[in-house]
Subunit: 316 residues, 2 copies
């Protein structure tokens, strides 16, 4: 099968042998796959990654348990052992022995096919188009913030108007937050306003403080700015993962008794429900749909300032 392979700086589409199917897993033909900031970080060398990246997808089961065959699916990206204390405590997304689709020990979705445990799969409702369903994973990650921090009735600053920031602002508003999305790119702010969300630039909010701040700039400098916007005893939700150490002054966290909440992945059920109900329509965020063969160029396009979501279509 054809797949994008990252190999310490190089990115090329290559023929790979089709892997044998482990018991309990399903082979999914990828219909559409998204490129996110983590993929771009992996390409730059985060985690010393080598292999097939990609963890956002919608696809069709072509091999595996009979009840799944032919189903159009999305898939949770953390494959847990199911047996360790963390799994037994219900925190399977944090299983220390987990593999993570396209990130840790499991080839990803920027390929014609992908393997996942059947228990990770969710059926996509028939009315939901592929172009929306492919957003389940990042929308789940965005909605998760609203399960970690109460935003209802509170002023929420979402810092960063990119791929994830767009979904975070929509999620926080749906969860009842009084959302202000903060970014620099005019087109991205326009998209937010078109979705009914108030926007501002970082200059506009100088000196303002918010009880909830969500940091999704994707930059190492985002934390300091987010902290300066968080009011005493407020919550700062941290979404950006960058590799390496950044100079940070943590004294304001202590003096202002800020709670910094790390946030990674979320449950698929609420994200699928929001998409199926039309409460979130992510399709205006799609910049381009490109064939898998053009994946290297798609990554470059995705990394450009101003870019939003670039999708890969292995089918052509």
């Amino acid at each position: 099968m054809r797949a994008l392979v990252l190999d310490g700086g190089s990115a090329r589409v290559a023929d790979l042998p089709s892997a044998p199917l482990p018991p309990g897993e399903a082979r999914v033909r990828v219909l559409l796959a998204g490129i996110c900031a983590t993929d771009l970080e992996l390409r730059r060398g985060y985690l010393g990654f080598r292999g097939v990246p990609g963890h956002e997808f919608v696809g069709e089961v072509i091999e595996g348990p009979a009840e799944w065959r032919g189903a159009r699916v999305v898939g949770e990206i953390n494959a847990a052992c199911g047996a360790c204390p963390t799994c037994r405590a219900g925190r399977r997304r944090h299983c220390p022995r987990r593999t993570v689709l396209g990130i840790v020990g499991r080839p990803g979705s920027h390929a014609e096919e992908v393997l996942l445990p059947a228990e990770n799969l969710h059926r996509v409702p028939s009315g939901l188009p592929d172009e929306a369903a492919v957003f389940v994973e990042p929308l789940a990650a965005a909605w998760h913030v609203c399960e970690q921090v109460n935003v209802a009735g509170r002023a929420v600053a979402v810092l960063g108007a990119g791929r994830l920031g767009q979904l975070l602002a929509r999620s926080a508003r749906l969860a009842g937050g009084d959302v202000l999305a903060i970014g620099r790119d005019r087109r991205k702010l326009d998209l937010l306003r078109a979705a009914g969300i108030a926007t501002a630039t970082p200059q506009d909010v100088q000196g303002r403080r918010f009880p909830v701040v969500v940091e999704a700039t994707g930059t190492p400098e985002g934390f300091a700015l987010a902290l300066s916007l968080t009011e005493p005893t407020g919550s700062l939700v941290l979404k950006t993962t960058t590799h390496g150490a950044t100079p940070v002054d943590l004294a304001p966290v202590v003096v202002d008794e800020v709670t910094v909440v790390g946030s990674r992945c979320g449950r698929f059920e609420p994200a699928l429900a929001l998409l199926a109900a039309g409460a979130v329509d992510p399709r205006p965020l799609v910049d381009a749909v490109l064939p898998l063969e053009e994946a290297a160029g798609a990554y470059e396009r995705s990394a450009r300032p101003g870019a939003l979501k670039v999708l890969l279509r292995p089918g052509g």
Copy 2:
């Protein structure tokens, strides 16, 4: 009156004019005052501090509202405006217009006398000796952690066995935590074990993870070690304030969805109750009681590795 004056690197005991008493405030003759890590930071130039430091004390009201005159008291260190939205929301310790005893805009307790709003004062029960009552402020700061994070029935690692770490470990155990105090100094670990608290060195706990970690090392490097000890979805309570930026890798906060809880001051009521009931006896932590005139030397003693609490007695 005599007072310790810090002035950009120099520390000397000097004669200062007795300040006039503002309405609603009380003048307190200091009986005993403690030196803490923040004082040592102020001496090193934190916040560009100049003036009289000190925020831990027990004293006797010598001027002010009639109902307070003659009372033996301790005093909350944040003097709030009482009128701003933060104060009206009940978060007076975070009033943006506050003064803070011996730290921000209000001369401190390393002096013969100190002024505080009467509403900040708490009577000391008659059975409680000065040498214990002087610990109310740091014990309140330690107990506050148990009001921010549920420790009952959970494994709690307290990192740092110094002045604050000693009180944090005792507080977390009283609040029902399964406490492991982690430090390097043998005498400090002995004191913890004498109080019935299990101890370990940083080497002993390599590879272990805890659902709750309290960072009280007083060093910029403490955060990274504390983070490495925090299990996924766990809580890391940050007590250390250091000035300036330190290189920090925040990626594990996001990937492991750790909650970092900044923690500064606490309510005096529970701390006074714990001391009055004998649930915490801080007196074994006292290294020395020195006259105010020897304050500069007392600071030096307090800054030595292995030092615990040094008290100043303005009376001689």
